[in-house]
């Protein structure tokens, strides 16, 4: 197993080495794409200055705020629509209509509504996070095995307890999948949002660097986005391992 894991690292490392060699050998002009070592050096310099930390902090704040607002709305409305028939009839149709729009196409409209400041970025992230969480919460609740709910009823559980002990835990795997998609959508929204009249953030850092032809900083921004995606994925996996331990039960025995 570990041998296989090492084998899977071979090609990425080879690509990086080839890139480095091609840059140093003059095959790739540094004005188009700087060497990975140059990008890392730039990253180290900006991190020491504190610039990188400031931009990263602002981006993370926007992501967290937007995820909290859009995600909470998605989970609450998805739960209402999934549990209550009246909620389903009232909430689901407009959401299904709105989800057909790519949320990034709303940028011009959102600018008119909330301006170009922080609220634009947070709104975009919230919009991006809302739909995957709504849809997966709704689907997760709908997919809970009716027979388990019935069994809980024969054990004397009230409607509220059935929701708590059967419906919510049963929809958790789907909800976590929604969270994974919501986080991906949040980063995507930030990439776009921070390129519109921002004064800080990773996206702003990249746009500003392009103005001054600092391609190493642009590539550094890409690296940071990639690492953010990777980090959020690792955290989510750890959460899933804990929250969904019952699913891997088969492996344990």
């Amino acid at each position: 197993m570990t041998a296989r894991r090492w084998r899977r690292a071979v090609t990425p490392v080879a690509v990086l080495l080839a890139w480095e060699a091609a840059s140093r050998g003059g095959v790739i002009p540094p004005a188009k794409l700087p060497a990975p070592s140059t990008v890392l050096e730039t990253g180290w310099r900006l991190a020491r200055d504190g610039d990188l930390g400031t931009h990263l902090g602002d981006s993370l704040t926007r992501a967290a705020l937007g995820l909290a607002i859009g995600g909470a709305l998605g989970v609450v409305l998805g739960t209402v629509a999934g549990l209550v028939r009246l909620g389903d009839d009232l909430v689901d149709p407009p959401v299904q209509m709105a989800r057909m729009l790519p949320h990034l196409a709303l940028v011009p409209l959102v600018i008119v509504w909330v301006g170009i400041d922080e609220s634009l970025k947070v709104t975009l992230v919230a919009l991006g996070a809302f739909f995957p969480l709504y849809l997966n919460t709704y689907a997760g609740i709908r997919d809970v095995d009716e027979r388990l709910v019935e069994a809980a009823r024969t054990c004397g559980l009230s409607t509220l307890s059935r929701v708590r002990h059967v419906v919510l835990p049963g929809s958790l795997p789907s909800l976590l999948l929604g969270l994974r998609l919501a986080i991906a959508a949040a980063w995507l929204s930030l990439v776009v949002g921070e390129q519109v009249a921002a004064q800080s953030g990773i996206g702003f850092m990249m746009m500003e660097a392009r103005e001054f032809s600092q391609i190493d900083v642009v590539v550094l921004g890409l690296f940071v986005y990639g690492l953010l995606g990777l980090a959020s994925d690792l955290i989510l996996r750890a959460v899933e391992r804990r929250a969904l331990a019952w699913r891997v039960g088969l492996k344990a025995s």
Partner: protein, 243 residues
């Protein structure tokens, strides 16, 4: 006749249920008294499970009157344990008071005292069904309703489960109504066998055999042949039929 009503744990009169145009139950009269074990036999599609669900109060669309006395618990064909709760939490679901002690006792009775911390996914089919039994037992039911509780198990596990049922029944004295399509199982376990046919109880046969019973006891074969004939599977005397 207050005394009689008291001894009737469940009494259904004119129980009807139709799915669209298909009438499955067309006026069933059924009474289960305290401490008696009743088997409900019938061909597939005869409405056995529908009747059990109606009696358990799980079918809001069943018509007729059903009176219930005392506590009842249900064991389904599939174990229906919540996969996200450990065995002990599944057994104690919805209980209050000294849950831990009662759960431990119930699991010990079905021989799974050491699996309290296991996830349902870690259990074999027979073990999961025993946990489902413990979940019903821990509620100290006066009446146990069982819907083909051994239907999904292999033949050997099935025999062991029948033995376990007999022991628990002797110890706790609960009444039971169990749905089955297995004539031998009905004759091994029940005091009375009901045959559901064409939407009504077509036969009500007392099983007067001494316990412990075995298929080679005298009298068993006669009853067996009679029931099989009633279910549309005639067997000549001396021949062995598989159902």
């Amino acid at each position: 006749m207050a005394g009689r009503a008291e001894s009737e744990l469940i009494a259904g009169h004119g129980v009807r249920r139709a799915f669209g145009d298909a009438v499955v139950l067309s006026g069933v009269d059924i009474v289960i008294r305290r401490r008696e074990v009743v088997a409900l036999l019938g061909g597939s599609g005869s409405g056995k499970s529908t009747l059990l669900r109606a009696l358990a109060g799980l079918d809001a669309e069943a018509a007729g009157t059903i009176h219930r006395n005392g506590r009842s618990a249900v064991v389904f064909q599939e174990h229906r344990l919540l996969p996200w709760k450990r065995v002990a939490a599944n057994v104690g679901l919805g209980l209050t008071g000294d849950v831990r002690g009662r759960v431990a006792a119930a699991l010990a009775e079905v021989g799974l005292a050491d699996r309290q911390r296991a996830w349902p996914a870690e259990l074999s089919g027979g073990q999961a069904q025993r946990v489902a039994f413990a979940r019903a037992l821990v509620r100290e039911p006066d009446l146990l309703l069982l819907d083909e509780p051994y239907g999904a198990l292999d033949a050997l596990t099935r025999l062991r489960m029948q033995g376990l049922f007999g022991r628990l029944r002797a110890e706790h004295g609960f009444a039971a109504l169990f749905v089955t399509h297995d004539v031998d199982e009905a004759l091994l376990l029940a005091d009375r066998v009901l045959v559901l046919d064409a939407g009504v109880i077509a036969e009500d046969i007392a099983v007067d055999l001494d316990r412990p019973r075995a298929p080679d006891h005298p009298g068993f074969g006669v009853l067996r042949r009679g029931l099989l004939a009633r279910l549309g599977v005639p067997v000549p005397a001396g021949a062995k039929a598989e159902v």
